[in-house]
């Protein structure tokens, strides 16, 4: 497997000497699902924003799809974000006076898809995310879980190399969080979507292939998770009668 993202010594310092990231080395394989966890303020969002070109490192390198991108101008980053990355945040940021369908198709059209292709992809995505019947609805009338699924469809319309998600379940009740997690799991397990996801929710992190635990701007610990063995549930549960 090729790494899709590689960072070397990735560092972000703010004026006044706050070191939000202190030299991070990570590598994300194609098709891998990496969760980033850690206490508030440890640098998770800073890392994700640097990977997505929403912020610039003060030192260190970023490779995306095999080439250096850390020195890119804002204009080149804008293309990278549009064509190669998908973003999902805690708040959905859907456009209230556009339909669900238009919200999802818009970034496709901006990236140069034909109207027909954008419509076909949007139809498939909404269907696979279980919200096919909401295409004509206004996002303002949807539940949080439904809005986040629309935001995920929007993030996937250009078939990004990497989906970057910052606390995608952070604003949701637990039932909606489950729905959103189910569609992310499916995107990864069934369609091989590479995902880097920041979360403080252990249940969400437990779905990843690898969990990076951050402390004070550094990766303190890394955990690889194995697919569960369904027959071990009785051992896990240890129910006694």
């Amino acid at each position: 497997m090729e790494p899709v993202i590689v960072t070397r010594g990735l560092t972000r310092e703010y004026e006044g000497g706050v070191r939000a990231l202190a030299g991070i080395d990570v590598s994300v394989e194609e098709g891998e699902f990496v969760a980033v966890t850690g206490p508030s303020g440890c640098g998770k969002s800073t890392l994700l924003n640097l990977l997505g070109g929403l912020d610039r490192p003060t030192a260190g390198e970023i490779e995306l799809g095999g080439r250096r991108v850390d020195g890119f101008s804002e204009a080149r980053w804008a293309h990278v974000r549009r064509d190669e990355l998908g973003f999902v945040f805690q708040f959905f940021n859907l456009i209230g006076n556009l339909s669900v369908a238009d919200n999802v198709e818009l970034p496709g059209l901006l990236a140069g898809l034909s109207a027909r292709e954008a419509r076909v992809r949007r139809g498939e995505l909404l269907e696979s995310l279980g919200i096919g019947e909401l295409a004509d609805a206004s996002p303002t009338r949807l539940s949080g879980g439904q809005q986040q699924r629309v935001a995920i469809a929007r993030a996937l319309i250009n078939r990004p190399k990497v989906l970057l998600a910052d606390e995608p379940t952070g604003a949701l009740d637990s039932a909606s969080a489950r729905e959103v997690m189910a569609v992310l799991r499916e995107a990864h397990d069934e369609r091989g979507q590479t995902i880097v996801l920041v979360t403080h929710d252990a249940r969400v992190a437990a779905r990843a292939d690898r969990v990076l635990a951050m402390r004070d701007g550094a990766v303190a610990h890394e955990t690889r998770l194995e697919q569960g063995d369904a027959t071990s549930v009785s051992r896990l549960m240890q129910l006694e009668v």
């Binding site: 252990a202 369904a230 071990s232 896990l236 549960m237």
Partner: protein, 168 residues
């Protein structure tokens, strides 16, 4: 196993084998394999204590089959079990004992112990989540798995607290 067997017999007389099957049917995938011997041992203790009775049913060419049923005393005993609240799970935590003592003796890095424990809980959570995907409408199993997952989430939060207070 005493009260579960009494509770099953409240539904009507049954053979030992039927009781085993009924337990497996109700708790299916989440219950470790049940040892038939344990069922028969428990039934004979219940009988000794006067909580169940048994009738022998003749079978062609085979030993008599025993059909167990609840006695009045058994019904009263069962009533008490059903009526009483079940005590909250006590905090039995081998890890915490290990953490405190290993830290005091200086024989392990507490942060590393906590990280390793977190790995194990995360993996367990993953396995529960994977198996939850296979319950296919088995509500009993789904509910039990959800309960176990909530416990693990609490354990993980508690590890965060241990890290803050004892992690160095």
């Amino acid at each position: 196993m005493r009260f579960p067997l009494l509770a099953l017999l409240a539904g009507g007389p049954a053979h030992g084998y039927e009781l085993k099957q009924a337990l497996e049917q109700r708790f299916g995938s989440v219950l470790p394999p049940i040892n038939a011997g344990q069922i028969y041992t428990t039934l004979s203790r219940l009988e000794r204590d006067g909580l169940v009775g048994d009738d022998a049913v003749a079978q062609n060419g085979r030993p008599n089959k025993r059909v167990y049923s609840l006695t009045e005393a058994g019904r009263a005993e069962l009533g008490g079990w059903v009526a009483d609240a079940t005590p909250a799970a006590r905090l039995k935590d081998d890890f915490f004992i290990k953490l405190v003592l290993a830290r005091a003796a200086g024989i392990a890095d507490p942060a590393e112990l906590i990280a390793r424990q977190r790995d194990a809980y995360l993996q367990a959570l993953r396995e529960l989540d994977d198996v939850a995907l296979t319950t296919n409408g088995d509500e009993t199993a789904a509910l039990l798995i959800e309960g176990a997952a909530l416990h693990l989430e609490a354990d993980l939060k508690w590890l965060d607290l241990c890290e803050q207070r004892l992690g160095s």
